[in-house]
Amino acid sequence: MENKKVTEEKLSGIKLLRDLCLTFGPTGCEEAVADEICRQLEGTTDAEITRVRCGNVYAVLHGETKNGETAKKVMLSAHTDEVGFIINEIDSDGYLKFSCEGGIDPRVLCGRHVTFRGKDGDVAGVIASKAIHHQTADERKTATKVKDMYVDIGAKNKEDAEKYVAVGVWGTFDSDFVVFGENDRYMKGKAIDDRLGCAVIIETLRRLKAEGKRLPFDLYCAFTVREEIGRSGAQIAAQTFEPDYAIVLESTAIADLPDVPANSRVAKVGDGGVISLADRSTVYDREFVDGTMKIAAQKNIPAQIKRYVSGGNDAGHIHKAARGTKTLAVSAPTRYLHSASCVAAAADFDSIRELIYAVLNGYSF
């Protein structure tokens, strides 16, 4: 009936990413993601792990400097939150009204499965609005507004619903992780933005340990909260460490669809990490960009320059933080970003991991 190829064996290479994507972490409720990251890092890195009050997780790996020089500071950051929902009303019939956390196109909401983290456990629901039979001709052509949608959890009435959830309870899409496409080249899941970035950092730390590598600078890895609403935990991380360089690991929305002109496609799935020159929050350090692309070319690692000034991410805060930071963004090209069905390529996940490792080992910071 379905894609039967999703076996444990085939998933093994991306199991970490799957586990992170399936973890619950809407903006403002990222604790479970922080827990999962700490669990994944435990015993697999020599970095010093700390969790701070705002919700960030830090993994710090001191480098080896020559002749007592002060070590340069390089930060890798990825955000732990995902777009999600928060209940703002329970109506008399027991339906949940909600607001979105982060920029979600209302058109991807109706018909989706969602999970709310209630006080006694997770509560499953579906986002609904009236049946097509009751829609007027105009309504059938118009996107339903979020304020007109509701979540059906099966509650009999308000009192019944309040046994499970309350105003202020957070929710996310409920979407499994599916490997699909020719030769299993694509992955579908919620929260690929930005658990893929988190997975890249975890894999980088693991590889440094596995290869017994000591970097000639201090590496600050920051798993940060609240990117999706722009009130960034990454700013706090940058102000805490005041890094000389920062690399933001992200996901970026692309439009590599038929009939879209090449210059509007942003980037292409499968062509490697997307390096931004500029987006709506940052103009990036050109030397850092060029140096990175040079390393990618030398090492034969797929990478691509972002071909559209769109989106924005934690770099916007990091490059301005404290005395300013030379910042680079490396993003996974991701279709249908901020939906229950983000699609990214397994090959890009590999390329980005390779590129980050090569940059840490090859760029002259």
Partner: protein
């Protein structure tokens, strides 16, 4: 009591691929799943499946139970570059739920072997949206299904007309509510199977013909039901279909209530005497019913079944369902059990048998 796990049977039946026009696609699976509960299984010229359970008496009257087996869906209109597909709707699909939904493309290789392909219905990133687009819903023919195939490989399995359905994925909500695709009308089909299969042959007042009719969702001709009813030529018919349930944005006088029990359609097209007997007996047995008032057509196969042949006294019973024609249709297991019980009542009621003599 039924030994059949009704919820599991609903999931199993609803999960089959039966997009209108392709009701033969999973015919073998359907017959494997429920054929064993019946004495005879037939397939008809227009995509119908007919399951017969005999009462054991000679020249017994024939009772028709109709549920439609077809479901809304899509079919491919173009195979595009990079493994994208365009589609059109089959039946009155609610297009609002399509973006970011997951689908199964029911492809076949050159030898006709099944080759199902997973797909995601794409959405448009904000930078490509023009001012004023924010409130517009894209029509279905502008949406793209992403399969992750190359065009050359995809064309080995998919062509214009290849059916596409929602990915079967089911969710259990609170209070016995369940959500998923294909409950319209295969949940009623499951209730009918459970009712008929759990009734001993000797308790039936006639031979029961369970029609899994095709082509209800085309909305115009309902040829499956009319051809099926004509072939059976029964003394009476019970049509079971899902019924639009109340949600906060609909009117109570245009909907029925989830957990309100089986809806009994009160319409010029349904038989008043059978309706009254059925409701009275349901009340005696503690089966919850609610009236569904339909001044014109019933919106179901009952609209055509009563007119077949020399006229067939018909009742129309409904299972309240929210979000009809989506991938997350919602029904209540309490209502489903009531529907099962009222169908069992219909096929065993001596009062109904008497009334039709």
């Amino acid at each position: 009591m039924s030994e059949i796990d009704l919820k599991q049977l609903i999931f199993d039946l609803a999960g089959l691929m039966s997009v209108s026009g392709s009701t033969a696609h999973d015919s073998k699976k359907l017959i494997d799943l429920i054929g064993g509960y019946f004495d005879e299984v037939h397939t008809g010229a227009v995509g119908n499946h007919l399951f017969i359970r005999r009462c054991g008496k000679e020249n017994a009257p024939k009772i028709l139970v109709d549920t439609h087996y077809d479901e809304i869906g899509m079919c491919v209109t173009q195979v595009k570059d990079d493994g994208f597909l365009t589609v059109t709707n089959i039946g009155g699909l609610d297009t609002r739920i399509l973006q970011a939904s997951e689908v199964t493309v029911y492809g076949r290789d050159a030898d006709g072997n099944e080759h199902n392909i997973y797909g995601v219905v794409g959405s448009t990133p904000p930078h490509l949206q023009k001012p004023g687009d924010a409130n517009k819903l894209k029509p279905i023919d502008e949406l793209l299904i992403d399969t992750g195939y190359t065009k050359a490989e995809l064309e080995k399995y998919v062509r214009v007309g290849t059916p596409v359905g929602f990915r079967p994925k089911y969710l259990e909500l609170k209070n016995g509510l369940i959500a998923g695709k294909g409950f319209d009308d295969k949940s009623c089909g499951a209730c009918a199977v459970a009712a008929i299969a759990s009734t001993p042959h000797e308790e039936l007042w006639g031979d029961v013909y369970l029609l899994f009719s095709s082509f209800e969702e085309d909305g115009a001709f309902m040829v499956g039901a009319s051809a099926g009813a004509f072939a059976v030529d029964p003394v009476c018919a019970l049509v079971a279909d899902v019924n639009l349930a109340h949600t906060p944005d609909t009117k109570k006088n245009e909907t029925v209530e989830v957990n309100g029990g089986v809806s009994v359609t009160w319409s010029p097209l349904t038989d008043k005497r059978l309706n009254r007997i059925l409701m009275d007996e349901a009340k005696e047995k503690g089966i919850k019913t609610q009236l569904s008032v339909c001044p014109g057509g019933t919106g179901t196969n009952a609209t055509v079944v009563g007119l077949v042949g020399r006229g067939i006294p018909t009742v129309d019973v409904g299972l309240p369902l929210k979000s009809m024609h989506t991938c997350t249709e919602v029904i209540s297991m309490e209502d489903a059990a009531a529907l099962r019980d009222i169908i069992a009542l219909f096929i065993t009621s001596r009062k109904i048998a008497e009334d039709l003599k």
